[in-house]
């Protein structure tokens, strides 16, 4: 169970409570600027915030932040890159090439220059980079916003497989159809407040 307890970053994020059983996909929807990304950043502990987040009853505040972030991986809508080559960004040994294939990128992508990639390619590379550290929970901020239909289907299939393997996913999306395809629980963010809602029709 992923439990968010009174997590707040005033004034953008009012105290938020949320419970997501392990192995399920929770979806957060809401307009731009409503505070969805602020919530995701707060879960990852990237900004000063109040409250706590627990994963399998282990408190985020009681463990070193790097350990928490490896367990509960947050992938922002636009990730950062610090080296010239794609391969230099895969800091975990794992099978990066298999992950690239799953997000629809060739194995040669490891040798690409980051500066020459498209935003859609970078979005998939960032997802693969995070998956390489084998997190138990994924917090994904609009993971398919820059993708064409074909790539989006690949990423969704990958997420389905991860859910079947028992990973937990908290998905932020604007795409109601995608929410319907992947989600089991739904919330809507409105002016920094989170409320549970029914599945989108």
């Amino acid at each position: 169970m992923l439990e968010v307890r009174a997590l707040a970053r005033l004034p953008m994020l009012q105290p938020v409570n949320l419970s997501l059983p392990a192995g399920e996909c929770g979806v957060i929807m809401g307009r731009s600027g409503s505070g969805k990304s602020v919530l995701a950043r707060a879960i990852a502990d990237l900004d000063p915030n109040e409250g706590d987040v627990l994963w399998r009853s282990r408190s985020r505040n009681a463990m070193p932040a790097p350990e928490w972030r490896r367990l509960v991986a947050y992938v922002p809508a636009e990730s950062g890159w610090w080296a010239e080559r794609v391969s230099d960004h895969f800091v975990f040994p794992g099978d990066a090439e298999a992950l690239l294939e799953e997000v629809g990128l060739p194995a040669e992508a490891m040798q690409w220059l980051v500066a020459r990639t498209s935003s859609g390619e970078r979005q998939r590379l960032a997802l693969a980079r995070a998956l390489a550290m084998q997190p138990e929970v994924l917090v994904l901020d609009e993971p398919t916003s820059a993708l064409d239909a074909e790539s989006r289907e690949k990423v969704e299939a990958l997420l389905q497989r991860l859910l079947e393997e028992g990973k937990t996913v908290l998905l932020i999306t604007h795409d109601a159809a995608q929410a319907q395809r992947l989600g089991q629980r739904f919330w809507r963010m409105k002016a920094g407040r989170l409320e549970p809602v029914d599945a989108p029709r």
């Binding site: 790097p66 922002p76 610090w82």
Partner: protein
């Protein structure tokens, strides 16, 4: 020395300024807009150097430990102020001046004591004729190194926020996350020193060595002094920049391993 040393008369110094007057005249003619500031800095330099000459004359004549200490303190204070003023992205509160000043003081005193007690051993050990010029050169170069290093790391933390946070999100500690950028900043801080060492004697004759040779010192003696000062400076600049950067990085991150750009002085 003595034999080859030519004493300059004041009119001879004035004659050397003639070329500068011609340049200023040309600047005026072509409306470069620099004539006024050229004249101003030239006059200011005359006043500054004459004053320093008189002060040094007094300090050397006194050769009193306390007076030398007071002069050294003024030099440190000026260097600290300069480091603080040249920061493009200052931090809030005491962190605006603490990392730069503390590392400047630390390496300045360290290098100076080492030189006086181990390398040069003048008599008395605090002899101002040796202490003050060496201290000045160490401070001046450390100042440049600290300024370059601090500006580079604070710029990286501002502009490369997404990249640093990406590293944090992959489970890096705060030090690991900024490491590639700190390495770049340190390289920038050391570059002037490395260039100076590479060019020394081939492209340029270092200023101190030139001065000693003009003053009649045997060239090889001048070279020995120059080597000593270059080694000292090279050893100290990296240390100074690293210490100042470490303090700044520590303040711009927190114990939960997150970036804290809110600790910069906020614009507006």
């Amino acid at each position: 020395m003595g034999a080859e040393y030519i004493t300059l008369e004041y009119w001879e110094v004035a004659a050397s300024a003639l070329l500068l007057v011609i340049t200023a005249g040309l600047a005026l003619l072509f409306e470069v807009g620099l004539a006024r500031s050229l004249a101003w800095v030239a006059l200011r330099m005359v006043a500054q150097l004459l004053l320093v000459g008189l002060v040094l004359k007094f300090i050397f004549a006194a050769t009193n430990g306390w007076i030398t200490l007071a002069a050294a303190s003024v030099m440190v204070g000026m260097a600290m102020r300069e480091v603080m003023r040249r920061q493009q992205r200052p931090l809030q509160g005491v962190w605006r001046w603490l990392p730069g000043s503390a590392s400047l003081l630390f390496v300045g005193v360290l290098a100076l004591l080492y030189t006086l007690l181990v390398v040069l051993r003048p008599e008395p050990w605090h002899a101002p004729r040796q202490l003050l010029p060496i201290f000045g050169m160490i401070l001046g170069n450390s100042m440049t190194g600290i300024t370059l290093g601090l500006n580079a790391i604070t710029e990286a933390i501002t502009r490369e926020r997404a990249a640093i946070e990406a590293r944090l999100l992959l489970g890096c500690s705060r030090w690991q996350a900024v490491q590639p950028f700190a390495a770049r900043a340190l390289r920038m801080a050391l570059t002037p020193m490395i260039n100076a060492m590479a060019a020394a004697g081939i492209i340029s004759l270092p200023g101190m060595m030139t001065g000693q040779i003009l003053a009649g010192a045997p060239p090889v003696e001048a070279v020995k002094y120059q080597l000593m000062i270059m080694f000292l400076i090279a050893g100290v600049v990296g240390l100074a920049a690293l210490a100042a950067m470490a303090g700044t990085i520590w303040r711009l991150t927190d114990e939960r391993h997150r970036l804290r750009p809110d600790r910069f002085v906020q614009a507006g």
